[in-house]
């Protein structure tokens, strides 16, 4: 116990986050094994994992790097379709878990490359202008994927932008992506366990980055770009690094998402999905990884819990969203909780040492 208390505050916080995820995983596993879990919730396990990864990765861009991105779903889309193509091509040649892993890695790589391509020009812009470029990127990806036909057949791997027939796949060919009809006949490889592993990997990467030298540099860039530049931090490099990692993780999440449903269409990854993920990040707290995890989980489950309200479901969701924003930003309430917390505050050794003066 003493040893844990001695650890740095950050490390302790991170351990709690990991612990929380592992505990949640074990509880769900246990409930699932004993049959105490609803189909509705079981069906949502993989999407929840995906949205957690999406939220945590977007938090890297929005919370930690401090740049608003409205096109995060675009990277998810690239990862999703890359993952589907990989999974279908590898059908029968490798075992399922390996196939899923390869699909996720490839999805991540392609999304990461896109992150580089978008990031280099976009990160020169700031604020809302960067936001609009990411939005535009997401829309372009959606539009292009909608006109893309991909298949594998006698002549190998083919791509076309005209129609499925022009792929000339021959009798036994498979159309993998069929323009606006999206990818169909996707093998359902995603499992809750794989989602759990992806979350752990994401947390490992993001939390380590946050507490590393690079992470501090990134946050310095966020807080004061000019000051950071003046002490020799390469702004572009660190911004790009955070942005690419964020895109890469979104790509992996996209692949996992696509491989959980038998069909996926480009339209799914539109502006609204990007916004949805942004809502997770903002509600969970900027830069607060644990908050993102919780917000992503709750807001994914919430619309399902509201099903009892039938037609008023989405209306209620909107009202809850607005109220939560109003309440969590209410000055008076904030002061009240502060006093409340001060009353119960337990003095920890790290707090006694005299704060942040020496590091």
């Amino acid at each position: 116990m003493k040893k844990i208390l001695k650890l740095k505050k950050d490390t302790r916080k991170n351990l709690i986050t990991y612990g929380m995820i592992i505990l949640a995983f074990l509880i769900v596993r246990f409930l699932s094994a004993s049959g105490n879990i609803s189909s509705a919730f079981r069906g949502q396990l993989v999407p929840i994992c995906v949205y957690i990864v999406m939220a945590v990765s977007l938090n890297l861009t929005v919370g930690i790097l401090g740049e608003l991105s409205l096109g995060h779903a675009g990277f998810m889309s690239l990862g999703a379709f890359t993952g589907v193509i990989a999974a279908i091509i590898l059908q029968g040649s490798v075992s399922n878990p390996l196939r899923l892993a390869i699909a996720m890695v490839l999805g991540a790589v392609i999304a990461g490359i896109a992150g580089l391509v978008v990031g280099v020009p976009a990160l020169r812009l700031r604020g809302d202008y960067l936001a609009i470029v990411t939005l535009a990127f997401g829309e372009i990806i959606k539009n292009i994927i909608n006109t893309l036909y991909v298949g594998i057949g006698e002549n190998g791997f083919r791509i076309s932008m005209v129609n499925a027939e022009s792929l000339n796949l021959g009798e036994r060919g498979t159309v993998i992506m069929n323009g606006p009809m999206g990818a169909v006949g996707i093998p359902k490889l995603a499992t809750f366990a794989s989602g759990f592993i992806l979350i752990m990997v994401t947390l490992f990467i993001v939390l380590n980055l946050q507490n590393s030298r690079s992470g501090r540099a990134i946050m310095a860039v966020r807080d004061n770009r000019i000051a950071a530049e003046s002490v020799g931090i390469s702004v572009t490099r660190y911004k790009l690094m955070a942005f690419i990692i964020s895109a890469t993780l979104a790509g992996a999440a996209g692949a996992l998402y696509a491989l959980n449903f038998s069909t996926v269409v480009a339209r799914k990854f539109d502006f609204n999905t990007s916004i949805l993920i942004l809502v997770f990040v903002v509600l969970g707290g900027m830069g607060n990884i644990r908050g993102s995890i919780i917000a992503a989980t709750v807001l994914t489950v919430l619309p399902e819990l509201l099903r009892a309200f039938n037609n008023y479901r989405m209306l209620l969701y909107a009202v809850i969203l607005i109220l939560v924003m109003l309440v969590s930003n209410n000055e008076q309430l904030k002061n009240m909780t502060k006093k409340f917390k001060g009353f119960f505050k337990i003095k920890r050794p790290s707090d006694l040492k005299g704060g942040t003066a020496r590091e």
């Binding site: 609803s38 189909s39 069906g43 606006p180 069909t263 830069g287 709750v298 489950v301």
Partner: protein, 384 residues
Amino acid sequence: MKKHRIFCIALTLVMSLAVLAGCGTSTQQSTAIKIGGIGPLTGGAATYGTSVANAAKLAVEEINALGGLQFELNFQDDEHDAEKSVNAYNTLKDWGMQVLCGTVTTTPGIAVSAEAYNDRIFTLTPSASSPKVVEGKDNIFQLCFTDPNQGIASAQYIADAVLGTKIAVIYNNADAYSTGIYEKFASEANDKNFAIVSVTTFTDDTATDFSVQLSEARNADADLVFLPIYYQPASLILTQADAMGYTPKFFGVDGMDGILTMENFNTDLAEGVMLLTPFAPDASDEKTVAFVQKYQERFGEIPNQFAADGYDVVYAIYEASKKAGIKGDMSAADICEKLIKVFTSSDFSVDGLTGENMTWSTSGEVSKAPKGMVIENGVYVGMQ
């Protein structure tokens, strides 16, 4: 960061409730057969789901009033999204669904039918029209035509009746339904007595201005414009063509149905529009008249083809259930096997609003004759 802590605790509580929510589902048995329905009730495609849900409700009420076999309907929203649709499906499963009437739209339909296939839940979709919905799944059936069938039938109709020689096509290339019909139509057109002279597209995001598409059709001297799309964008196309002074023949598919009953629509614009549809709300047969009247009384709107599909689905399940001797206390899997047998048997046919003598093949596709209609003086008239 700290301000979120209390909020987080509250959220965690909600989350725990979510996990436990399913635990309470009782195993109480009722004699009614539990029918689940899935379709978009909110969002951009809400009108389709709402029509199906309304009509299905109507049909269930009628059937229950007969006193014999009892149905219980639970219709869930999927926002026209595969993920939400699977969620809706799982919710229905927790509720104890025995037969699925859904889904209304195609992409969610493909995702849900894969689940229903694994779970052995009998599914009859009112309007998810891609062949991918039923392909390779013995317990999934369709009540509507498949998209390729509509493409073939349209090409056939146009060729047989020599409706036009130069055809322009405007379709929604972000929509599976529209693209599915177009692709088959285009490949059928090869050896027909007409030529496709212009093909243009739009997406849901650009479905406002059609001046470019219409100009291209006019510049290519098209005498017939084929619109394998839904009636909402079609109404815009008709309005804009009229404003441009462009007056070709317009030919639509079943998605075009609804254009005449669209509130406040100037039906003069649709004069002469031809379409293939299995349902016309102003048909004079007894069944349609009764249905339209009841629907209008109940929901204040004139039913469209989606409503007719929803109504027929419930009645098809009802007829088949009667024939198979299904009872509410049977398991979903048992019901599934029995219904498959009935639906694919040669002596099972249903007379519905959307077709006489509908029969089903083992692939799950329906066989019924599409009716060619032309709009004259604001009403459908059979085309021969």
